[in-house]
């Protein structure tokens, strides 16, 4: 079992008993089940060592933020969490990522199956251009073998409602996904991910290509979504991390510098690098 002090760059601000990890913070005690955790995770592009022995916990039904300066390995780390990293030629990862207690990097684990449980939303909205709004939402289910029309219809409607897009698109479900605005497209992509009923959704700067109003809508949505799904979000926007996340991890040149409750990290960081970064003095 993990115990205090075994996480790199971290000095015992959380502890773990019987699979429950509690973050010790101010005020109400944060306690939740770990759904996803990396242990000594390393990642490379060719010989370029980009993620260095990162061990991190992500808790059920929380929003977890990953912050750090550009190029520090946030995206790479995130993409290791559902085995997307290895899809890039020359990219390699080593270490353990436990999802619900099972290592997704063990030899019996299927990347496609992993990604059904750990979905992904990308920086740029990327609906499939040859597909309608409706088809975009249900394509994952279709590939997974769901054929019944009423099931697909129900799930599409539920997911579009969940992301607050239903009223805007219910009369034009057969219009191309690309006919929507950027913010709508990103919500469509979130609905597409939700349709697979994943336990975790990884989001890589999902609002960085959007205007402030669309960004605000997506932030509200994420806070709403965490009731049913755990979210790991990479963001460059400190206010965003502070507003919506429960835990925050700070990466610097591939190392985990600090991890803790978001309130802690932003008001009372332990490491001087963290403080310098969140106060905007570098990165």
């Amino acid at each position: 079992m993990e115990h205090n002090g075994s996480y790199s760059g971290h000095n015992g601000s959380y502890s773990s008993h019987n699979g429950h990890v509690s973050l010790v913070g101010h005020g109400d005690n944060f306690e939740s089940q770990t759904i996803l955790e990396s242990k000594d995770l390393d990642a490379w592009f060719g010989s370029h060592h980009v993620v260095k022995s990162v061990s991190l916990h992500f808790f059920s039904r929380t929003v977890s933020a990953i912050i750090g300066p550009s190029g520090c390995g946030k995206s790479t780390f995130l993409r290791c969490l559902n085995r997307m990293h290895e899809e890039i030629p020359g990219a390699r990862a080593k270490g353990v990522v436990n999802f619900q207690g099972k290592n997704i990097y063990d030899m019996f684990s299927e990347p496609a199956n992993v990604r059904r449980h750990i979905g992904m939303v990308f920086q740029k909205p990327n609906p499939f251009p040859a597909m309608s709004i409706f088809e975009n939402v249900i394509i994952g289910l279709k590939l997974a073998g769901v054929k019944k029309g009423y099931v697909l219809n129900d799930i599409a409607e539920a997911c579009l409602k969940q992301v607050g897009l239903w009223d805007e698109v219910k009369d034009k479900l057969s219009a191309p996904g690309l006919s929507l605005s950027g913010g709508q497209q990103q919500r469509l992509c979130i609905a597409r991910a939700l349709a697979m009923a994943p336990e975790v959704i990884l989001m890589d700067e999902p609002t960085s290509a959007l205007d402030p109003i669309s960004t605000a809508r997506i932030e509200e949505l994420l806070v709403e979504l965490k009731k049913t799904v755990s979210i790991v979000i990479v963001t460059h926007n400190m206010q965003q991390a502070a507003r919506i996340s429960d835990t925050t991890a700070f990466l610097l040149s591939g190392d985990l510098v600090e991890f803790g409750r978001t309130g802690e990290i932003f008001t009372n960081p332990r490491k001087s690098e963290t403080e310098r970064y969140i106060t905007g003095r570098f990165g």
Binding site: E87, N113, R115, R116, F122, K124, N126, P129, G140
Partner: protein, 303 residues
């Protein structure tokens, strides 16, 4: 020399080239039209509906060669399109970079093989193989399905189609690979992120949006097949008749002209060959134009 003056000179030279090319095209078309005038005056629709082509009796109809060209080109694209798309998927989506570069090189080399070499191979290797090993398999079927009726002499429409397929395969593969290269990586990752397998991701994220582009590539490759002359002349069998069997010898527009232009002495024969040439030119131009229109309309708007 001031930059504006040199630019002016440059533009004038380019403009002159442009005008020259247009004039050249026109002069070819006019040359053919004038040469074919006796036939055109008689009525082109009669010409293209007449099967008999008999210079000895002075009977000239283009139906057989139109048929030969269209069927051999159709066979070619029916083979080359799936192979070309398959090769492009393999090269761009599945193969490791090193394997892909070796394969691309081989395919590019295929494009560099001279037409007459394809003709030799077709005549001495493919034709006997079809005659001795492929056609006999279909003979029993041929009693019911006329397109498989034997016997095969080796050379024929099918042989020409297969040789043409090999000749247009590099074009097909290269264009389709370019189309796939234009698909952004985030599209593939979007599909993979939904739990699709590699192959499903190719289908959903790469093939689906590339369909119009693939169609245009196929039309363009067909245009190449329509006019291909040397290899076809060597393996098509050179018989001016419409026959439904793929194993029968036939004749294409290009091979007819190549076979007869030197011996044609009487003016009606020459005019008939010119008319076939004009038809071939018009068909090729139209097919090329169609390919370009499809390509333009469908150019995926990746952002």
């Amino acid at each position: 020399m001031s930059s504006s003056l040199s630019e002016k000179i440059f533009r004038t030279i380019l403009g002159a080239f442009g005008v020259f090319i247009v004039l050249l095209m026109f002069s070819v078309a006019i040359f053919l039209t004038v040469g074919a005038w006796p036939v055109i005056r008689h009525g082109l629709s009669d010409f293209v509906q007449t099967q008999t082509w008999n210079p000895v009796n002075g009977q000239f109809g283009a139906l057989a060669v139109l048929f030969g060209t269209l069927v051999s080109s159709s066979i070619a694209i029916a083979i080359a399109a799936p192979l070309g798309v398959g090769a492009a998927i393999f090269l761009k989506e599945l193969a490791p970079a090193r394997v892909a570069s070796v394969f691309s090189f081989l395919i590019e080399m295929l494009a560099a093989v001279p037409s007459v070499i394809f003709g030799l191979w077709g005549f001495f290797v493919l034709a006997p193989a079809i005659r001795d090993h492929v056609a006999p398999i279909f003979y029993p079927l041929g009693e019911y399905v006329p397109i498989f009726r034997g016997p095969s002499y080796g050379v024929g429409i099918l042989t020409a189609g297969v040789v043409l397929a090999l000749m247009i395969l590099p074009t097909m593969a290269a264009i389709v690979r370019e189309i796939f290269s234009a698909v952004p990586q985030h599209q593939r990752e979007a599909a993979l992120g939904l739990g699709s397998t590699r192959w499903e991701a190719v289908r959903v994220a790469v093939l689906a949006p590339s369909k119009p582009g693939i169609l245009s590539a196929a039309v363009l490759a067909t245009a190449r097949a329509l006019g291909e002359t040397m290899a076809v002349t060597m393996v098509i069998g050179n018989r001016n008749a419409v026959s439904l069997s793929l194993f029968d010898p036939g004749q294409s527009m290009a091979s007819l002209i190549a076979n007869e232009y030197a011996e044609a002495s009487d003016s009606r024969h020459i005019a008939a060959l010119m008319a076939v040439g004009l038809l071939l030119l018009v068909i090729s131009l139209v097919v090329n134009a169609v390919a370009r229109i499809i390509a333009k309309r469908s150019a995926a708007k990746w952002k």
